[in-house]
Subunit: 192 residues, 2 copies
Amino acid sequence: MKMSIVVCGRSLEDFLNEIERFHGFRAPGLVLGGFMVDWAQELIGPNVEADAIVETAYCLPDAVQIFTPCTIGNGWLKVLDWDKFAVTLYDRKQLRGYRVWFDLEKARSVPDLYDWYMRRVAKKDLPLEVLLDAILEAGRYVLSSGAIRVTGHFERKKKGNTQICPECGEAYPATQGATCFACQGKGYYERR
Amino acid sequence: MKMSIVVCGRSLEDFLNEIERFHGFRAPGLVLGGFMVDWAQELIGPNVEADAIVETAYCLPDAVQIFTPCTIGNGWLKVLDWDKFAVTLYDRKQLRGYRVWFDLEKARSVPDLYDWYMRRVAKKDLPLEVLLDAILEAGRYVLSSGAIRVTGHFERKKKGNTQICPECGEAYPATQGATCFACQGKGYYERR
């Protein structure tokens, strides 16, 4: 399929190449997510300093990180692990913005896309290229958007006091207690 | 300061430029984090498919996302919001790897770095360029590393059943209950 479209300010080829470079492959969820970011960017306009919230940890965080200035590490992107395929861009001062979500009802008319999202089809029975073509052809058609005001999860976390853990000698936030989480047995590793 | 070093397989200039492009500016924590990733990559070697865990949401997740194949959206990077400046790269099959952390005791001999990390100095009293030079000069000197076995937080989350929320009509995981989190009042937005 050939199309001359611009997504997130890029040619389709650049759009797909950047996804592959950052994410490792042209993940369907990330291509779909790119269209969602593209629409949210258009709705909020070019002159707004926007923060982002995504409602799933799958794929969508990378669409925001590739195509907007918001990243996990700079604090402008928040990831809610809700497994809802939705993204919000909002003015970080006014707290007004737009939410774009994958609209399953609209996707019913694109069976490959619907079946993929609902995991009704095995990967081997739906080749990646077929699914990607369906997503590229559908674009915004399977999305919906709404104007919203952000009422929570917009706070920048303040760092508290840092102190030295008496057991491991590492710096940790005082709020964790007399020793750090790892020395409290909540760690994810053992020395070898 | 001029140095001819290679960090994360890049010239210092490319290293700093990629940080700026992704993160918005040359954040000190991200430059320090780049040295941490660089060391962890060297320890684990080039032929290992490594997953990553970072122990803070500040800056360090971006170092991993820029300089390794691991991202939030592809599931190879996990972010623990512990405010500890440490990163682990580990073989995703063997669960063996290396943890690298900012060693505050070692950093005592680099007062600008120590004061910055402990937030003992106002930003206006420690220009970014001075701090960056201190970090570039220190490099691994203010870090420590250890061989570890990962004992938790390595599971890939499995998606559960997806169903339609009877209130908003959006897809959500059945485990959330009869309606989705947003319709249960746990959302972060209101329509406007």
